[in-house]
């Protein structure tokens, strides 16, 4: 089901059970060179030629070598340190509107030829013939700059971050009863070669840290969460100290101990800068993915050129945003990432595109063809999606709100792109009464309709900030995404609480 798409915070606990394996990391070899030689060029050319032997207009080899390392602390103990390696190649053959795909963990020429044969058989259209492929290696313009490759950092140093965070969170209050923390890094080297002659590579390094705190009070348990993640190396921890992150997570859980049930019904909602990019991710981001649009599964179909949002809204998806969680030098089809303006001053300007959709509709690719791993087919995905600054003072936005809800941290969200209905969770929120923040309220979802909400944003702040790293899920594949926005107000959203 392609249309039900969701975004989760990174390392979100599945069903409440802590699972260390979600913080993937990569450790491993000392080779930090920029040229990746995973498969010989001659082998790639021969494999692509045989992929097209049974017909088909396009063939592609996507190869990946991913090393991860992670460490997980829970209940005061470093439960485990994990190292992982995953490598393989996916081969696709496109014949007409049909794509054949096969993947293999065997990167030898024989292994690749077998996968090429399977992909060609899946896409068979009769016909057949020969196709000579000559590859032209294209240099990649690196978007991210890595100072300290995580594999060069001692495991003990990574583990120390966990105990430091644990101590910091627990020292906040005796009401902090449980802490879990995760460190993860990954290095994903990828190569794309296709029958149009493209040969290109990328080296993606990501590092992240997250912490989850449980506090206990008279009214039961509450949780607080914080995370940081960037497409950089271990220098992540020079940017922001884990103890500060831990204190923030603990404070969030403690604050919520005194929370009141959230209200129900429609009211104005103010969303803090850098906490609510997920609003746009769900309200319209997914609906602007050309594959969903092309199948009529988006409420934004046939609306390019129309005013779809308030005139102060400019929405951008930008894979080149250095170091952000969704930053990539090339997408997983080998197309360079780029900055795409999707909504300009409220007017829908374009959708996001991958190779297949671009080819079908004669449109340029936009660097949004992404996949989770070599086991998956690429599709249209967001990178870093954000709304540019407005002009309002953020404090004035709160003061201008007589009665409503202030959301200081959002959790995940989910959208049905065909109807535009979307939800997103609030994990730290307060009542606004007479223009001031008052009591904290309990967790819950907010629900709205994308096209309506875009028009209902009546105040936009001047304090733009990017938010926490996220994992965007679509058709079972998760990819890293970033988002951001200034403080803003939606004049009416439905709060999913229980209070009258």
């Amino acid at each position: 089901m392609g249309r039900i798409v969701e975004r989760q915070r990174v390392g979100a606990a599945r069903s409440g059970a802590e699972d260390g394996d979600e913080d993937t990391a990569e450790a491993g070899d000392e080779d930090t060179g920029s040229v990746i030689v995973m498969i010989d060029q001659g082998v790639l050319e021969r494999v692509l030629s045989s992929a097209l032997r049974r017909g088909g207009e396009f063939a592609e080899v996507y190869a990946e070598d991913k090393r991860s390392s992670s460490a997980h602390l829970d209940d005061g103990k470093v439960e485990q340190v994990t190292s992982g390696r995953d490598r393989g190649a996916g081969i696709r053959v496109v014949a007409g509107d049909t794509t054949g795909y096969a993947h293999t963990a065997d990167l030898s020429e024989a292994g690749l030829q077998a996968a090429a044969e399977a992909a060609a058989a899946a896409a068979r259209k009769g016909g057949g013939g020969s196709n000579v492929v000559a590859l032209d290696r294209r240099p990649t313009r690196p978007v991210n700059d890595v100072e300290t490759f995580p594999e060069t950092v001692a495991k003990a140093t990574k583990v120390d971050l966990l105990t430091k965070a644990n101590d910091a969170a627990r020292s906040m209050s005796g009401a902090v009863v449980q802490v879990s923390a995760g460190y993860g890094d990954s290095r994903r080297r990828l190569l794309v070669a296709n029958s149009d002659g493209l040969l290109t590579e990328d080296d993606q390094v990501r590092t992240l840290f997250r912490i989850n705190v449980v506090a206990s009070g008279d009214a039961g348990l509450q949780t607080g969460y914080e995370s940081m993640g960037h497409t950089i190396g271990f220098e992540l921890f020079d940017r922001r100290d884990v103890t500060e992150l831990a204190r923030q997570a603990a404070q969030r859980a403690l604050t919520k101990l005194d929370s009141r049930p959230a209200p129900s019904g429609q009211m104005p909602v103010v969303i803090k800068a850098g906490s609510g990019g997920v609003l746009f991710h769900e309200a319209c981001g997914h609906g602007l993915e050309a594959d969903l649009v092309g199948k009529g599964a988006s409420v934004f179909r046939n609306r390019v050129g129309e005013q779809v949002a308030a005139p102060w809204i400019t929405l951008v998806d930008d894979g080149t945003m250095t170091a952000e969680w969704g930053a990539i030098s090339i997408d997983d089809e080998g197309h360079p990432s780029q900055r795409n303006v999707l909504i300009q001053d409220g007017v829908l300007t374009d959708y996001m595109w991958d190779f297949l959709r671009s080819r079908k509709e004669g449109h340029a690719q936009s660097g949004n063809g992404r996949r989770e791993s070599y086991r998956d087919l690429p599709m249209v995905r967001m990178t870093n999606t954000f709304v540019l600054n407005g002009t309002e003072d953020p404090d004035a936005i709160i003061r201008a709100t007589d009665h409503g809800v202030y959301v200081a941290q959002l959790g995940g969200g989910q959208v049905n792109t065909a109807t535009g209905d979307f939800v997103f969770g609030m994990t730290e929120a307060y009542l606004i009464e007479n223009g001031e923040l008052t009591d904290p309220i309990r967790e819950g979802n907010l629900i709205g309709n994308g096209p309506q909400v875009l028009k209902d944003i009546d105040l936009l702040g001047n304090d733009f900030a990017m938010g926490n790293p996220g994992t965007c899920g679509k058709d079972g594949q998760g990819v890293p995404v970033g988002d951001g926005q200034p403080t803003l107000r939606v004049k009416a959203l439905t709060i999913g609480g229980t209070a009258a």
Binding site: G2, D21, R85, H103, A122, V159, G220, A297, A418
Partner: protein
Amino acid sequence: MTELLDIARRVADQAGAGEQVEAFVARERDASVRVYEGEVEHLTSAQSEGIGVRVIKDGRVGFAYAGTLDHESIAEVLAEARDNVAFGTPDEWAGMATPDGVPPADVDLWREALASYPTDSKVALALELERTTLALDPRLRVEDANYADVLAESAVATSTGIAQAGRATGCYVSVSTIADDGSETQTGFGFSVGRAPDDIDVAKAAADGADRAVRMLGAIKPASRKLTVVFDPFVTAQFLGVLSATLNGESVLKGRSLFAHRVGEEVAASLVTLVDDATNPLAFSATPLDGEGLATRRSVLIEDGVLQRFVQSSYSGRRSGTASTGNATRGGFKSTPGCGCLALSLTPGTRAQPELVAAIDDGVLIQMVQGLHSGVNPVSGDFSTGASGLLISGGELGAPVREFTIGSTIQRMLQDVVEIGGDVEWLPMSAAGVSLVIRDVTMSGA
């Protein structure tokens, strides 16, 4: 299977003095077909395999995995796992499972018919589903129709005496539908799952996909109020999935369960009996072996509303002074065993859904929920989810409604269960569906 078990054994046998070693080896062959407008959109076939190795020494745990099974990778994984041990914190309860004498249930999850099922027939099933769905109503469009299957084998061996292997087949068809009457669009989905193609019911998948979308046409945003909800079986299964996190022995030990210290108390209405039983061959998630290679078994978690026990892995069992209930979970070769419910079901009542609806004056039948991962917190119990469905008025189904939330707490919802339907349906998740009636839930809408 013996090949995988041999690989696992060879690794486990390398355990040194004072060291425990566990190897989990998995291999999967899968295929998926998606069709659109009578044509194959994509067809994927693949085999993947991998190994995860866990080493425990002096109470410290190290882990490593690789997505390949060549000798070099396996040696590297074992070396990495050993290297990682040094960084763990000693935990006196850390350890592998040891054989506990419980024989695995005789559940055969493998169907040879699937292994030899031809690709053309898989494509034909997906095309038939698309055609059948479209023929049901002129307002319908099909966004995609799919067929997918998997043949999975795995083995686990430890230096503490565990050596087990298992295999299973599974397949499904699914359809995503859009009902479009010219002025609005609504969506639906339908599916059918089985262990072999013969189990697949294309007509049911098509009918569900059509009904769910078409009956939502004209949906309005309802007024906020407290009312009675009826969960469709599909929604109940998702609700049980959330509930399962609170019944997990490891969460209890770590202070993350709202039911900690409440065994023996009435945590639900007296008509609620909740059982976890992965030995039930009807369960989609049925398995004779848990993630550590111990036999799965039947555990009554809530009986007549009274909390009886939590599910345990060998770690949580040892630490809580009980024993494993055969509830170690494992997400694949890339992760270490966790603890969790494997196949939950509510003991059903007797009445069908229309009879349940007939007894309700002001209510809503919840057909779909949205945002369970973002609005439900199994630690605090806060429950808030987006929903869509049909209003119930004077015992009859009425107007379709959307863009609202339903809210309560997990604790209150269990106490507020009014009736459980007789319509148990095993769904492709680790819980069974059944119609479930809960009173005093807040609907938040206009």
